[in-house]
Symmetry: C2
Subunit: 151 residues, 2 copies
DNA sequence: AGTCAAAGGTCTCTATCCGAGACCATGTCT
DNA sequence: AGACATGGTCTCGGATAGAGACCTTTGACT
C-alpha cells in the first residue's frame, strides 16, 4: 500500500542536494549529482542498463534488441557506461571477434534506484498521459478562442 | 545463486519492464517507461524539480538559480513539466506579470524515486570518477603504445 | 515627460547530437 | 570466388539545444 504522503527524508535530501549544488560558484560541471544524472539521462543509457540486467550481451545482440538505435549511438552509449564503470567490456579474439558487455558491480548497485524510477514511471504513466491530454485540450481551446467569437 | 544481489525484486522488475518493451513490435514510442524516462532525462527537468522541492518559485527566480540555463531552455523544460502534470503554472496579472511554478501532487510523488537516484549519484560519484580516471589512463597507455615500439 | 528597468517570454543563429547507412578487415561457409 | 557476419568507424543531413538579442507592458526615477 503506497501512502499518499511524500517521503519527508527523501525530500529533504533532494532539497539539500540542490542547495549544495547552487552554492557552488562556477563549478557546476563538477556537481556530483548533475555529473552523474546527466550521464544517466543520455538517451540510451538507462535502456541499455535494463537490457543487461538479465545477462551479459554482445554488441550485435544489443543492436538487434534495441531496434531504433544506430551503431554509432550504441557504441557511444556503451563507451560512456564503460568509462563510468557501469558496464565492463570483454573482447574475445575469435573470428569474427565477439565483444561482450556485462553489468559491472557498480552498475548493479544502480538497479535499485533505477527500479524505483521505472516503477514510478509505470505507475504514473496513465496520469501523465491524462495530464498531457488536458494540456493539449486547454491549449486548443485557447488558440481556438482567438479565432472564434469570444464570450 | 548470484553473488550479493541487492534487490532481487527490483531487478526482476527492471528486466521484466525491458522485456515488455522489447516485445512491442514497432510502437516503441508508446512504451510507458521510455516515454516517461526520456522526459525525465531531458537535460534540466530533474534539476528544476529539485529546485521546486522547497517551495514554489517564479520564472526569473529559477533563471537566476540555475546559472547555466538559457531562457529558452528554461521555458521549454517548464512547459514540458507542466504538460506532464509535474508542475503547475500560475500567472498573477500584476505588473510586471509574475508567474509562479509549483510542484504538482504528481510531481511530489516523483521525489521518492528521484531522491533514490540522487542518493545513489552522491554515494557513487567518487567511484564513477575513479572509473573514468582508470579508463583515461588505460586509453592513454594504449595510444601511447602505438607510438612506441611494442615488442 | 522621458527614460529606464523588470518580468516573462519569443526569435534567430549557431553548435551539437543523433540516426542512417557506407565502409573496413578478417575469416568462414557455400 | 564471393557473399556474409562481427564490431566497429566515418560521413552526411536533419533535428535539437543553447546563447543572446529582442519585445511588451507598466511603474519608478529624473
Amino acid at each position: 500500500m503506497k501512502e499518499t504522503k511524500p517521503s519527508p527524508a527523501g525530500d529533504l535530501r533532494v532539497a539539500e542536494s540542490f542547495r549544495r549544488w547552487v552554492a557552488m560558484p562556477v563549478d557546476q560541471a563538477s556537481c556530483p549529482v548533475r555529473d552523474v544524472l546527466d550521464r544517466l539521462g543520455e538517451k540510451w543509457v538507462t535502456l541499455l542498463v535494463m537490457a543487461l540486467v538479465e545477462r551479459p550481451r554482445r554488441f550485435s545482440e544489443l543492436f538487434r534488441l534495441v531496434p531504433d538505435i544506430s551503431k554509432r549511438s550504441l557504441t557511444q552509449a556503451l563507451r560512456s557506461l564503460e568509462q563510468d564503470g557501469i558496464v565492463t567490456r570483454h573482447v574475445f579474439p575469435t573470428t569474427p571477434p565477439a565483444v561482450e558487455y556485462r553489468l559491472a558491480p557498480l552498475g548493479a548497485t544502480m538497479l535499485e534506484p533505477l527500479a524505483a524510477m521505472i516503477a514510478w514511471a509505470e505507475d504514473n504513466h496513465g496520469r501523465i498521459r491524462a495530464a498531457r491530454r488536458r494540456y493539449a485540450a486547454a491549449e486548443a481551446k485557447r488558440s481556438g478562442a482567438s479565432g472564434s467569437a469570444s464570450s
